[in-house]
């Protein structure tokens, strides 16, 4: 076993995906000396290592990169005297006093003290159980992300004739990926009346390959005792209940699920952080600090992002604030609380401070055309089109906020009245 690491760090970052890597950069900018990134995989990069398609980095690097390229650039930027990356190592537990229990392939059992902690554990995929699809339980039903890992990293195929349930981006990306691999992708079935992935992915991943997207439809039964043999597909009514009288069967050997992501918050709940049921992540201040002082969160563990560039931006800030706290600096605490209002599914952060520019990320509940977004009574912005698949990013100038004190601001989106 290798020689032990330090027993104290200024900032310990849990997760070495794009969020964790950017947080390390941020902490270094704050001027701290000892930063540790811990990741359970054998290399840093997180989910990006398996996302081999291009579409990353347009904002951050002003260049369209593939996932692995984006990750590798970041890892190079992070590598320095101040930052250690500990891979093949798993953070088991964090105590309220910020002691971390880590088990590591290279170092064994470790206990470290951190001045501040950044949570950057990413997210996991929803599985079959969470949608209770009736039928048998054969091999060949798997999440799209697992299939992505199989194909892109392990070099095996999930099957030959593929159906996809859910039109999330991973599902769409996999439809194209498996088509390129010579698999027969029979169709994508989506419960909602609209595609839940980005339109661009619908165009370049489905339309380009002639793969049909069936909206308002779901898998009503999975057939096959050992391996998937067939699916019964049924249209759903406006209450999303399948209409079995209009169902049809599709022959296939694989069903990929792309039905949503859930922030990976086992550690956060064990720490008893205050959670936001709307995002599935912890509640944070405008400094991205959770309800436990000294613990910060960013990236997909905070709320599920669709753009890695926003992950990097958010995480740089989280890392910087965590670094500041580690060396004893404190920004004024927030004095305005922020709440999702009409048509808003979720917003991050959940509180604001008027002392500097604020960045807000939010998602709408349903597709909206020609609408106006308001925050309190002083901010207004018009949008041609808002969809749940795209996270919205807003910046608020301090001047807009200084009038509020100890108040609650609501964010609403309303359709513009016909004039």
């Amino acid at each position: 076993m290798k020689s032990p690491l330090r027993s104290r760090y200024d900032v310990v970052i849990v997760g070495g995906g794009p969020a964790g890597l950017a947080a390390a950069l941020g902490a270094r900018q704050a001027g701290v000396e000892h930063i540790l990134i811990v990741d359970r995989e054998i290399e840093a990069g997180g989910i990006l290592n398996q996302c081999i398609h291009s579409g990353f980095g347009l904002h951050y690097f002003k260049e369209e990169l593939t996932g692995p390229e984006y990750a590798e650039r970041f890892i190079r930027n992070v590598q320095s005297d101040q930052v250690e990356i500990l891979t093949d190592s798993y953070v088991l537990d964090i105590s309220p006093a910020l002691q971390l229990e880590i088990i590591s392939g290279g170092y064994g059992h470790l206990q470290l003290q951190a001045q501040s902690v950044v949570l950057a554990m990413g997210c996991r995929e929803r599985t079959r159980g969470s949608i209770r699809t009736p039928g048998f339980r054969p091999a060949g039903v798997m999440t799209a992300g697992l299939a992505q890992k199989m194909v892109n990293m392990h070099g095996v195929l999930p099957g030959r004739r593929i159906a996809i349930l859910g039109s999330g981006d991973i599902g769409l990306i996999m439809a194209r990926r498996l088509s390129l691999e010579g698999c027969d992708v029979t169709g994508v079935y989506e419960l909602q009346p609209h595609c839940s992935g980005l339109t661009r992915n619908q165009v370049q991943c489905l339309d380009d390959f002639g793969i049909p997207l069936h909206l308002s439809a779901t898998v009503a039964f999975i057939h096959g005792r050992d391996r998937v043999e067939r699916l019964t597909i049924a249209p759903v009514n406006h209450e999303l209940i399948p209409d079995l009288s209009r169902s049809w069967d599709v022959a296939c050997d694989t069903l990929l699920l792309s039905i949503g992501l859930i922030p990976e918050n086992e550690l956060s709940t064990r720490l008893r952080l205050r959670m936001d049921p709307a995002t599935g992540g912890p509640q944070v201040t405008s400094n991205l600090e959770t309800s436990l002082p000294g613990v910060f969160a960013c990236g997909n563990v905070l709320h599920v992002h669709d753009l890695v560039d926003f992950v990097s931006e958010e995480s740089l800030r989280a890392g910087r604030f965590a670094g500041e706290v580690a060396i004893g600096m404190r920004r004024p605490s927030d004095n305005i609380s922020l709440q999702a209002g009409e048509n808003i599914a979720s917003c991050v952060p959940q509180s604001l401070s008027p002392d500097r520019e604020q960045i807000i990320y939010l998602r709408v509940k349903r597709p909206l055309k020609n609408c106006v977004l308001t925050i309190g009574d002083r901010y207004e912005k018009s949008f041609r089109m808002l969809v749940p698949a795209e996270m919205i990013r807003l910046t608020l100038a301090p001047e807009l906020l200084d009038r509020y004190f100890g108040e609650m601001l609501k964010i609403d989106v309303r359709l513009r009245e016909a004039t």
């Binding site: 088991l92 159980g129 091999a139 060949g140 992300g145 697992l146 199989m150 095996v156 999930p158 999975i222």
Partner: protein
């Protein structure tokens, strides 16, 4: 374990058990005490893959079934054996007790009847609880419950862990196990049965038929089918850890003619499970779950606990109860001498299994089988380590001894590589086999993260390519090879 690669020809035994469910495994361990050549033949790739892994995992308190039935007698006898078994075979066991709820005035009478039945059978500790007591002990149950019968003797286990432990102990004491080995035909010549399987022919003087839902078919192979099995399907829904602790005891409604009703089950590992349904089905492989089943279960549960939501489901499954026409266990000699049935083992078959094993052993003794105890018989097995249950000091020590404890394979359940390797050394051949032995893939993400890691370990240890790793045996391969050779075409 025999991989099926080499054929066994004409191996001969004193006793062959057909079927490696909880009953077959308990029989194997019990009979391994004696000086016998003993084999267990199982159709699936691992033991316990029939009904015994898809049930509620309850060691029933002992008062449910009438003492006039065989299942009623063996239920209470079996119950009392499980704490020792769990200790010796190192599997999880918690005696959490049960509450049987009276929701309607007409149920109150039933509570009294059941209490009396239990007391007559000698089940200790039965008590009727008032609504106030129920509220105090189980505050998340609905306030409309009129009364409840508390039975402290009820317990929970992981039934598949019990199967693995029992068979490992039997093997350690000399029993032989053949998995992936369906019995296809049985011929009798004189006092010898020859049992045909794809792995070869087994000879035996005595055959114990513990083939679960297929027991009547196996009996028919020797013309001993004087009973019929039909299947009663039960669906179960496992819920997210969010609801863990919402009840601390097993919650039962008043039963119906065909089932114990829909239960709330705090499983031995913590998460709550709800189920089962009871539905007659014709197909003996119909393990499908349904919209209707889910609807029934959650509607029923809402009558006693409103906090449980269908949306908390993390996985569901179905199992088949093997029900004989008599609605009781069918245990005893068949019309064919030397061929014994241990069939129709419906609920509470899990609870009763250890008692069934002793009962059958005594029966064989009465039928003239010579049972000489082995001079050395080891009741315990070493049992796997559970990283998740270790203290920090134990973890430190374990990793120093074996660095594979330092690599987490399943994040949801904190399962380490060392545990997966142990499971494979002890017979796991499939993803399900690993999952049911060490819980990798059983947590919230249901294998999203660990599947590839477990597959890689299986592939490395068994020397098979990834594409030959299965979920639960031949035909359930998880992935397939790339087809590059097919696409060379215009590659320049």
């Amino acid at each position: 374990m025999n991989s099926g690669a080499e054929k066994i020809v004409g191996m001969s035994y004193d006793v062959v058990i057909i079927g490696g469910g909880i009953v077959g495994c308990a029989l194997a361990r019990e009979l391994s005490r004696y000086d016998l050549r003993l084999a267990l033949i199982e159709k699936e790739v691992e033991v316990g893959f029939g009904t015994s892994k898809t049930n509620s995992g309850i060691i029933h308190s002992g008062h449910h079934a009438s003492p006039d039935t065989l299942k009623g007698r063996l239920e209470w006898a079996g119950n009392q054996r499980w704490s020792d078994l769990a200790r010796d075979l190192k599997f999880g066991f918690k005696r959490i007790g049960e509450l049987l709820l009276a929701l309607q005035p007409e149920d109150l009478h039933y509570l009294q009847l059941l209490k009396k039945q239990g007391e007559d059978k000698g089940v200790p500790g039965l008590e009727i609880w008032s609504p106030q007591r129920i509220q105090k002990e189980e505050p998340n149950l609905n306030r409309t419950i009129l009364q409840a019968l508390h039975a402290p003797t009820a317990a929970v286990i992981n039934p598949y862990e019990a199967c693995f432990g029992l068979i490992e102990c039997a093997q350690q004491n000399g029993a032989e196990l053949f998995c992936g080995c369906p019995v296809l035909a049985i011929n009798q010549t004189g006092a010898d049965f020859s049992i045909q399987t794809p792995q070869g022919v087994f000879h035996s003087r005595i055959v114990l038929n513990a083939a679960g839902v297929f027991a009547d078919r196996v009996a028919a192979m020797v013309g001993a089918a004087d009973f019929k099995i039909h299947c009663r399907k039960g669906e179960e829904y496992l819920l997210d850890r969010r609801l863990q602790g919402i009840v601390t005891r097993l919650i039962f409604p008043v039963p119906t003619a065909t089932s114990k009703g829909v239960l709330i089950i705090p499983t031995v590992d913590g998460p709550i499970m709800v189920g089962p349904t009871a539905e007659e089905v014709n197909n003996r492989e119909d393990l499908s779950t349904s919209f209707a089943g889910a609807a029934k279960i959650f509607a029923a549960v809402h009558q006693y606990c409103k906090a449980i939501s269908e949306r908390d489901t993390i996985t569901e499954f179905a199992g088949l109860r093997a029900v004989a026409e008599t609605n009781d266990f069918v245990i005893g000699p068949s019309p064919v001498k030397g061929f014994f049935n241990v069939a129709g083992i419906q609920s509470p078959g899990l609870t009763a299994a250890p008692a069934i094993a002793t009962y059958v052993t005594e029966m064989l003794r009465c039928e003239g089988l010579k049972l000489a105890e082995k001079p050395v018989w080891k009741a315990e097995i070493d049992g796997p380590f559970r990283f998740a249950r270790m203290t920090q000091q134990q973890r430190q020590a374990a990793i120093l001894q074996d660095p594979a404890f330092g690599r987490i394979v399943c994040r949801c359940e904190a399962v380490t590589e060392a545990e997966v390797r142990y499971a494979i050394r002890h017979g796991a051949r499939t993803l399900d086999g690993v999952k049911f032995r060490v819980r990798a893939g059983m947590g919230r993400c249901q294998g999203g993260f660990c599947t590839m890691r477990v597959m890689a370990l299986l592939s490395e240890t068994l020397g098979l390519p990834l594409t030959e790793i299965t979920k639960r045996g031949h035909g359930s391969e998880v992935c397939c090879p790339r087809q590059d050779n097919l696409s060379v075409g215009d590659g320049r």
